[in-house]
Assembly symmetry: C2
Homo-oligomer: 158 residues x 2
């Protein structure tokens, strides 16, 4: 990551230790989503983005969320979600209906077909997560991982 040595203003380049952490973090950040995506596509024919929509809707008591809430939970942009839900609606996995009290809001709801797709796909996905992540880590390391990622989230969410 270090490139030029002399720059007009005093740039605080990464230290050696920081670089040694940054490079693999960057790599994990690239490869992990790729791996999730590939596995779900090959074995289930859907993207990870779709899977997340299914998961979050299924976690609601009424299988329903407003587009805004759903976007927030899935860490995606409104635009992206709009496109994704449109495509998933066409395939019969979710439905959309307007909110009665605030007509700007749209609710996305999981259909039976969507739920059964999720149930068919989830075991393979969980197995993959286990294989790629949790089978490699001790209990303590999992705890460290949780603590570290939670520390990084606030600045990324904003």
């Amino acid at each position: 990551m270090s490139t030029a040595r002399e720059v007009p203003s005093a740039t605080r380049w990464l230290t050696q230790d920081e670089t040694a952490a940054w490079l693999p973090l960057l790599r994990v950040g690239q490869l992990l989503p790729q791996a999730m995506d590939r596995q779900l596509r090959k074995e289930a024919g859907i993207r990870h983005a779709y899977y997340q929509v299914l998961v979050h809707l299924s976690a609601q008591p009424d299988r329903t969320l407003s587009m805004g809430e759903l976007a927030r939970l899935a860490a995606t942009s409104p635009s992206r979600l709009s496109h994704a839900v449109a495509a998933m609606e066409e395939r019969g996995w979710v439905t959309r209906r307007p909110c009665s009290t605030d007509r700007r809001v749209q609710y996305a709801g999981l259909t039976d077909a969507g739920l059964s797709l999720l149930e068919r796909v989830a075991p393979g996905h969980v197995a993959d997560v286990r294989r790629l992540v949790f089978d490699r880590l001790t209990e303590d390391e999992v705890s460290q991982l949780r603590s570290l990622t939670l520390k990084l989230l606030p600045s990324l969410d904003a």
Copy 2:
């Protein structure tokens, strides 16, 4: 991530602790690349994928790498790199020339324009990395982060 409770074969769902680590990890894995991309686009007009190409080429003594090596270093697919380098060549940041001993191989080389772009862009990028990641962590945490990500890499690289 937990969805159905009863599935044909015995699916080992994630424990509570694992889920508590998985959700933020997934989120970081999504948001971190997004954030890198947004910052570089806004302030430099290039994608993070392009930036990585520039960085890896600039780190070579002769500013040159074969497409294969470059793809491996940047953790990207050959196809993606091919498209990217084609676009960057058109903008004058890299050049391509065939290898003299193995005519399947192409070398990508960083131009002066490419290097000066990188030097202009790098400080802002490093500042962003610092703001998003290293300013939030103690020295010990950085070390934990390095150790954890290094443990996850092997299974992802394969």
